[in-house]
Structure formats: C-alpha cells, structure tokens
C-alpha cells in the first residue's frame, strides 16, 4: 500500500512538472505551443530555448525511464530537440500536439536505442510516424492531455495488479510485443493478451 501511495505521489509530481504553470488550460497551452513552434520554424533559437525549458524534464525523464542511463538519455533528448528544430515547419497547430509529439519522438528514439543495445531484432516494433503534422491518419484533433487525466492514468497504473502493470510497462516503456512479453515473463500468450486487454481498458477509462 505504501508503495502504491509513493508511486502516486511521484507520478503527481512528475505530471505537475510536465505541465508546468499552464496546467489545466489546454486551449491556452496549445495556442502557446503553436506560437513557439512557428517561431522555431522561423529560426528563433530563443523560442527553442523556451520550449526546452518547459519540456526538458518530460523528455529527459521519459528517456531515463526507458533507458535507465543518463548519457544515453542525454543523447536521446538532444536528438529530440534538434529534430524539433529541423521539423518545426511541418507543424499544423489545428492537428498537431507538441507535447504528444515530444513524447512520441522521445519514446521512439529511446526504444530504438534500447533495442539496438539489446540486439533485439523483431518485425513487431513499428513506431508511430513522427511527423509534427499528423494529418492523413488522424481525422479528429487530439483530445486534451490534461493534468487531471495524466494523474488518473498514473493512479490507475499504480493500482493495477503487479503482473498487469509489468506488462503495460514492457509494452509502453520498452517496446516489447505481446509474444516477446510472454517469452520474457514465461507466461502463455493468451494470458498476456487477456491481462493487457483488461489493463488497457482500465487505463482507457482513466483517460476520459
């Protein structure tokens, strides 16, 4: 019980850090993101610095969570912000979501690094496209990723059964497929699938 509580406190802190002062006001946050990315696209280095100041903790923490290694996490973080610098011109504010994009790219890069370090070759890993403009495969604008939703997700993660949480973590933070997880945890594939499905259903509800 203390463990769960601790996880929750850590999570709440992380979320507050990630969202910063504009917490809760997703409309204002998106407008700010749009302006900053437009400035970056115009070659404004100070704007990149400001985006770094707001999101470096989110990016570095996620890279650390995946890799558990400061120098590798540093490399990934640098990659992510440089990519933002080069690709800012593609950003479509009506569809793109800067925080979602940063999380996607950070996670993809970190898992790529992890997989190559582990010599893990499998055709199952097919990361999401990293275009800042997600037009074409998203018909609707992204729902708000608010501080409350993230807190609920964190709380739900902490309340999952140990094995269920482990499975979601291996899938999300390490990019393992269901059959890789079954092998790794020495569980029948059917069990992994069932537990994944129920855990994801709970997390999905927490996002609403």
């Amino acid at each position: 019980m203390t463990g769960v509580l601790l996880v929750f406190i850590v999570v709440a802190f992380a979320v507050a850090q990630a969202y910063g002062s504009s917490a809760g006001d997703s409309q204002a946050r998106r407008e700010l993101d749009r302006k900053e990315v437009a400035a970056i696209a115009d070659g404004d280095q100070a704007a990149l610095g400001r985006v770094y100041d707001r999101f470096h903790r989110l990016v570095f923490s996620l890279a650390m969570r995946v890799l558990g290694d400061r120098s590798a996490a540093e490399e990934v973080s640098q990659d992510v912000f440089l990519r933002l610098w080069h690709r800012a011109g593609d950003f479509d504010a009506s569809r793109g979501d800067l925080m979602g994009w940063l999380v996607t790219v950070t996670r993809n890069r970190a898992i790529d690094t992890l997989r190559s370090r582990q010599h893990r070759e499998s055709s199952a890993w097919t990361p999401m496209p990293e275009s800042l403009d997600t037009a074409g495969w998203l018909a609707t604008a992204p729902a708000a990723t608010g501080i409350e939703a993230a807190e609920r997700v964190g709380k739900m993660m902490a309340s999952l059964a140990e094995q269920q949480r482990k499975i979601i973590e291996l899938s999300y933070y390490a990019g393992y497929s269901q059959s890789e997880i079954a092998e790794l945890l020495n569980l029948p594939l059917g069990t992994v699938k069932t537990w994944t499905r129920s855990a994801l259903a709970a997390l999905r509800d927490a996002c609403r």
Partner: protein, 268 residues
C-alpha cells in the same frame, strides 16, 4: 476486419508493438479515414502521451541545454538553404540564366569551402573529441569540391526529377552526369527504413543491368547530396534508380525502389 474487432488493438498499434494482421488492418482503416478507428487511435494517442508524462521525474544535466543550443547553431542549415535557394527556385533553362546560376553556384561553393576550411583550422586546434566532426567536415568539403568540379564541367549533363513546383513527399532534385562521375542533389527524401541506407543505381542501356553507384543518407530535413567520383559512360545510362539497402550498400539490389529517373531530355 471490421472496426469492432480492432477496438482492443488501438493502444498497441499506437505503442508500435501490435503484431498480426490487426496492424495492417488498422493502418488500412486509417488510410481511408475510417471515423471510428481514427477516433480510437486518437484516444490511444492521448493515453500514450499520458503514460509518457508519468515517468518518474529526473533532472536533466545542467549542461544539456547549452549542448543543444550549440548543436542548433552548428546545424542551422546554412548549407541546405544555400542549395535550396540556388537550385529549387531556378527554372534553369538553356540560356544565359544557366550560366549565371552556375556562376552563383561556383561563387557560393567557393565561399562554403572557404568557411569550411576556416572552421577546420579552428577545430584542428581543439581537443580530441572534435576529431569526429573534423572528419565529417573534411569529407563534406571534399564532396563539395568534387560536386563543384562536376557541376561546372562543360561536358556535364543535367537531369532533373521530381515535381519541381510545390514541395510534396516525392524526392525532387537534379543529377549532373559527367564522364568523370556524377553528383545528385535532392530534397524531400523520406528517411530510409530503420537500419537501411539509400543506394543509387545506374541502369545500363547496353547490358540492361544495374550498376551500384554509391550509398547516401538524407539529412533530417530530407536533403541529400551524393557524389560518385569515378569514370562512367554517360551515353550508356538509360536511367538512374534509388533503392533502400543494408548499410554500406550491395552489389545486387535487394530493397524497394524509391525512385527511377529516366536519363532523357538533357537540358544542358
């Protein structure tokens, strides 16, 4: 497969860890803008972002910011915008304009080489960790020199490819063919598949075979320059092709063809 049976797979699809036919099915539904699957994947993306944001907080090292800003200054696409402004905006007809453009190119390249040399000198003085960047700069400077020689040679032939007008996802650019080699300058190249690189092929008229002509990787913004410095029989080239291949390239094509450029209608 109907949307109903894909409903439980949106999250793993977004995580990039979905196996089996569901993966292609969801991709196909998204391709045709299926409203149900788009909304489902969208919700899954929100969950993924939330999972990403609840990683235990760790402070980034203090020097990281300065590191990144320095890298940004170095990576600011001086070189790239130079290429773009010279090449992409010019119609390049067979006329005095072509000669003028070439002059600009020569002038610009000369300046680029000059500034690269300056940068090199500074670097040579600094510590061992700059050695890597130094090597990159040397090879880049050499490549620009070779490109300059090929492009300004009287006997070079220019072949254009791609849409030319408003940029889209098709690679677009130019190839200069010369008996002493070739140079390809392009933009809008998609990143090659993971663990692959691009390889250029010369398709022969005489043998109907493909001859490897070197490997290259586009930069982060899709720009690519490739120089092949060896004698080639320009008149025997029917077309140029690019495919993705394992690092270092191969002798016989194994990967998917990204583009084919017929060598006809020379403009110079």
């Amino acid at each position: 497969m109907n949307c109903e049976s894909l409903r439980d797979s949106y999250e793993l699809f977004v995580f990039g860890t979905l196996e089996g036919p569901e993966r292609e099915e969801i991709a196909a539904h998204l391709q045709r803008a299926c409203p149900e699957c788009s909304a489902g994947v969208n919700r899954a993306r929100v969950l993924a972002t939330n999972l990403g944001s609840i990683a235990p907080p760790v402070d980034a090292p203090g020097h990281l910011r300065a590191h990144i800003m320095r890298a940004v200054v170095q990576a600011t696409p001086r070189m790239h915008s130079f290429w773009e402004s010279i090449f992409w905006r010019m119609a390049f007809p067979v006329s005095a304009a072509a000669a003028l453009t070439l002059l600009l190119v020569v002038f610009g390249l000369g300046r680029e080489i000059g500034s690269l040399n300056l940068e090199l000198k500074t670097l040579q003085k600094s510590a061992a960790d700059s050695r890597k960047r130094e090597q990159v700069l040397v090879s880049r400077a050499n490549a620009y020199r070779a490109a300059l020689a090929l492009m300004s040679a009287r006997e070079s032939r220019e072949v254009r490819f791609g849409p030319g007008l408003k940029p889209n996802k098709q690679p677009d650019g130019r190839v200069y063919l010369n008996p002493k080699g070739l140079v390809m300058i392009a933009s809008n190249f998609p990143a090659p598949p993971k663990g692959r690189t691009y390889e250029l092929w010369l398709l022969r008229k005489s043998t109907k075979g493909a001859e490897p002509a070197g490997v290259f990787d586009p930069d982060a913004s899709g720009g690519a320059m490739h120089v092949l410095a060896r004698n080639i029989n320009v008149n025997d080239i029917a077309a140029l092709a690019v495919s993705d291949e394992p690092p270092g390239g191969v002798q016989e094509r194994t990967g998917a063809i990204v583009m084919v450029v017929p060598v006809t209608g020379m403009t110079r």
